[in-house]
Symmetry: C2
C-alpha cells in the first residue's frame, strides 16, 4: 500500500488569482502545502496558501524558483511562459498540464488545428496573420475574429455581423471563425488522469449578456435532452483526448439550432463554468484537478443538486477598496453560497467573486440567481 | 441596504486547531480576514488564516492582543480564560459565544444545573467536590463521574459499573450522573443568531468504540423514526435557548431504550458531529457559525445526501512526522472526502483528520466508512 509522509506534496501554483485560491483549499485538505507565484503581494491564492513568491509568472528566474521548491506545479492562468516551463520539465520537474500541451492550447489557431485534425467538429476557420477587408469578405460574414494569444473574458474576441463591423477588427495574428447562431452555449468539464482515465462532469449551460463575453449566468445541469447531454460529454472527452495532458479541462461548445455540437474552445485548467461543483458535486473541480496531477484516483463527478452560478463583477465606473452591498439580503435566500476572492482593489467588470445557488428545481435556482444579481453589488470606494 | 467595506470583518479565533482551520475557509469566502491565537507556530488554523499570534489562549495579554485587532472573536476550543474575555467584552469587544455563556458551559455542573432549571431532561446528577465511596454508593451504580472542568475526547470521564470500579475515580471536583443505557447516542447542531433565531440541523447518530469516548463513526441522518428526530431537534433548541449565546452549539443526547431523550452535553462551538455538513448540507456548520456571529441571516440546514463520517486518529505507539497510508485506495471509493488537519506531529489517538462519505444509501455510506477506516491510517515516523 502506498505511503505518503506529510506533506503529501508541495504544490506550486503559477498565478495567484481565484482559481489558485480555490485550488489551495482542497490541496491543504488532502495534506499538501502550497506555494503561489504572483506579482501582487497577498494575492487571492497567496492569502490562503501561506507561501507566495512575489514575481511575475512570465519571469524565467521566478518560475524556476517556484518549480524548484515544489513537487508538482500547475497553473491558475494560461498566459505563461511555456519555453521556460518546457526547459524545467526536461530537467525532470513535474508540471501539469504539461507545458507542451499548454503551448498548443494557448495559441487558438494551433488548438483549433489540433481539434480539427482529430476530426472534432468546430466552427469553420481560417488563419489570418493580418486583418484584411478582402480576406474577411472572402471568408464571409457573420464571423468571429479571435486573437491567437492572450485573450480571455471577452478580450481578444470580435464579432462582425457584416463588413460595417470591420472597424472593430483586431490588429494581431488571429483566427477567423464562422459565427455560430447557437441555440445554447454549453460546457463540459473533463478530468484527465496521469493514467489516461477521463471523467466528464454534467453538461452546464452558459448564458452571456448580449454583446459581452463574460459568463453571466450558469445553469447546471444544462436544460437539454439527455441524449444531447451524453453526446456533449462524449465530444468533450474526445476533445480533451486530442489535446492531451493531465488535469481538469473546461470544454466550451455550441449547441446549434439544428442540434449539432461544435467545440468552441478548450481551457487547460479549472474553469469558471465549474465553480458550481464546489457545492453541487461529489468531487469539486479543484480537488479533481489535484487528484489528477498527484496521480490519485479521479473522484466521482455526480451532481447532488441542481445549481445556478453568477459571477460578481466589479461595478462600472468605480475602483479602489471594494464595497459589498446587499450581502445580508442575498444570504437570506436559502441555498446561496457567496465566494469573495479577497481582491484588495475592484475595477469595472473585474471578477471579484461568484455566487452558487442550489435548489432542487433548476428554474427556481435560476430565479434565485437573478434575484441575487439584483441584490448583491461590488463597487469601489473611488470613482474611476 | 447594508454596505460592507472589504474586508467584511476581521475574525479572531482563540485556538488554532482543526475547528479554527475549517472556520477560516468560509470566513475568507465571505470576505473576512482571520487572526488565530495559538501557542504552536504554523498551527492548523494559522496555516490558512495567514495571520497567527503565537501565544497561549489562556494568556491575558495575548487574548487582549487578539481581541484588539479583531472586529469579532470566537473560539476553536472551550478551555479558555473567561475572566479576561469577560473584561474585554465589558470594554466593548464582540466575543461570541459570550464569555458568560462559555463560563457556564465550561463547568459541567453549572451547565447541568442550567439545563435542569429550564426543565430540560438530563440524567440525574449530583455535585461531588471530592470522591467518596459512600457518596457513590448512596447515589447508586452504575454511574458516570465527570470532571467539572477541562475534560474532552474521553478525558475526564469515568464510567463505574459497580463499587469495584471506584479505583478509577477522578480526584477533582466533579459531577456524578446516572449511567444511561442508551439505545443510541445522537446529536443535533443548533445555530443561534444575534436576533435569537434558532435553526437545527438534522439529527445525527454517534457511534463510539466500546470503552472509548472518541466518536468512531457518525451517521447523518440518524436512523431513528421521524417523530423522535423532530422531538430531538425541539429539545436541542430548548437546551440552546436555556444556555443562551450566539453561534453554533453541538447538543449531544441519549435516546433511551424506552424512547426518552436526555440531554448529555452542550458544546458551545462547532462540533465534531457536524463536520459532515461541509459536504452534505446547504450551509455548513462553520459558515453558519460565522453568519451568526456576523449578524448575517442564518443559512438553510437542509441535507442534500446521507453521509457518514469517521475521525482519523493518530495510530497507537507512534509519534513524529505523520505518515499517511492508504490514501489512494480510500479516494478510489466514490463519495469520499478526506480532510487532513495539517498537524506537523502525530500522537496516539490525536485527531489528525476526518473523512466524510456521501452516498444516497446511508447503510452503504456506513459500509464505505468502515472500509475507509481499514484502508486509511495515520501513523508516525518514530516509535513512542
Amino acid at each position: 500500500m502506498e505511503r505518503f509522509p506529510y506533506p503529501l506534496a508541495r504544490v506550486g501554483i503559477i498565478g495567484g488569482g481565484q482559481l489558485g485560491r480555490m485550488l489551495v483549499k482542497p490541496a491543504k485538505r488532502l495534506g499538501c502545502t502550497c506555494v503561489v507565484l504572483d506579482p501582487t503581494p497577498n494575492s487571492p491564492a497567496g492569502q490562503v496558501a501561506g507561501h507566495q513568491i512575489v514575481g511575475h509568472y512570465r519571469d524565467p528566474a521566478k518560475l524556476r524558483e517556484l518549480v524548484s521548491v515544489c513537487d508538482v506545479t500547475t497553473y491558475d492562468i494560461e498566459d505563461v511562459d511555456t519555453d521556460t516551463l518546457t526547459a524545467l520539465e526536461r530537467e525532470g520537474h513535474r508540471i501539469y498540464p504539461q507545458p507542451g500541451v499548454l503551448a498548443v492550447v494557448q495559441d487558438k489557431l494551433h488548438q483549433k488545428e489540433r481539434l480539427a485534425s482529430a476530426g472534432i467538429a468546430t466552427a469553420n476557420f481560417i488563419a489570418m496573420d493580418q486583418a484584411e477587408p478582402r480576406a474577411f469578405a472572402t471568408f464571409g460574414y457573420p464571423l468571429v475574429q479571435k486573437a491567437r494569444r492572450g485573450g480571455y473574458d471577452g478580450r481578444g474576441v470580435v464579432v462582425m455581423k457584416d463588413a460595417a463591423d470591420y472597424d472593430d477588427r483586431l490588429s494581431v495574428p488571429s483566427l477567423v471563425e464562422r459565427f455560430i447562431e447557437a441555440e445554447k452555449e454549453i460546457a463540459v468539464l473533463v478530468a484527465q488522469g496521469l493514467d489516461g482515465e477521463r471523467r466528464a462532469y454534467p453538461v452546464v449551460e452558459m448564458c452571456f449578456r448580449p454583446g459581452e463575453n463574460i459568463l453571466d449566468l450558469l445553469l447546471a445541469p444544462a436544460r437539454i435532452p439527455p441524449e444531447i447531454a451524453a453526446a456533449a460529454q462524449r465530444l468533450a472527452c474526445r476533445a480533451v483526448e486530442a489535446i492531451g495532458g493531465v488535469g481538469i479541462f473546461g470544454v466550451e461548445m455550441f449547441l446549434t439550432r439544428d442540434g449539432d455540437l461544435l467545440i468552441n474552445e478548450v481551457a487547460p485548467r479549472t474553469h469558471n463554468s465549474g465553480h458550481y461543483t464546489i457545492e453541487a458535486c461529489l468531487t469539486d473541480q479543484f480537488e479533481q484537478h489535484l487528484r489528477a496531477l498527484l496521480d490519485l484516483p479521479l473522484g466521482a463527478t455526480d451532481q447532488l443538486s441542481p445549481a445556478a452560478m453568477i459571477n460578481l463583477l466589479g461595478a462600472p465606473g468605480r475602483t479602489g477598496r471594494p464595497i459589498i452591498r446587499g450581502l445580508a439580503d442575498a444570504l437570506a435566500i436559502p441555498g446561496v453560497s457567496v465566494h469573495l476572492y479577497g481582491k484588495a482593489t475592484t475595477r469595472p467588470y473585474r471578477k471579484m467573486g461568484h455566487v452558487t445557488i442550489l435548489d432542487q428545481d433548476i428554474e427556481e435556482a435560476k430565479r434565485k440567481a437573478e434575484r441575487v444579481r439584483t441584490l448583491l453589488e461590488i463597487t469601489g470606494e473611488e470613482p474611476l
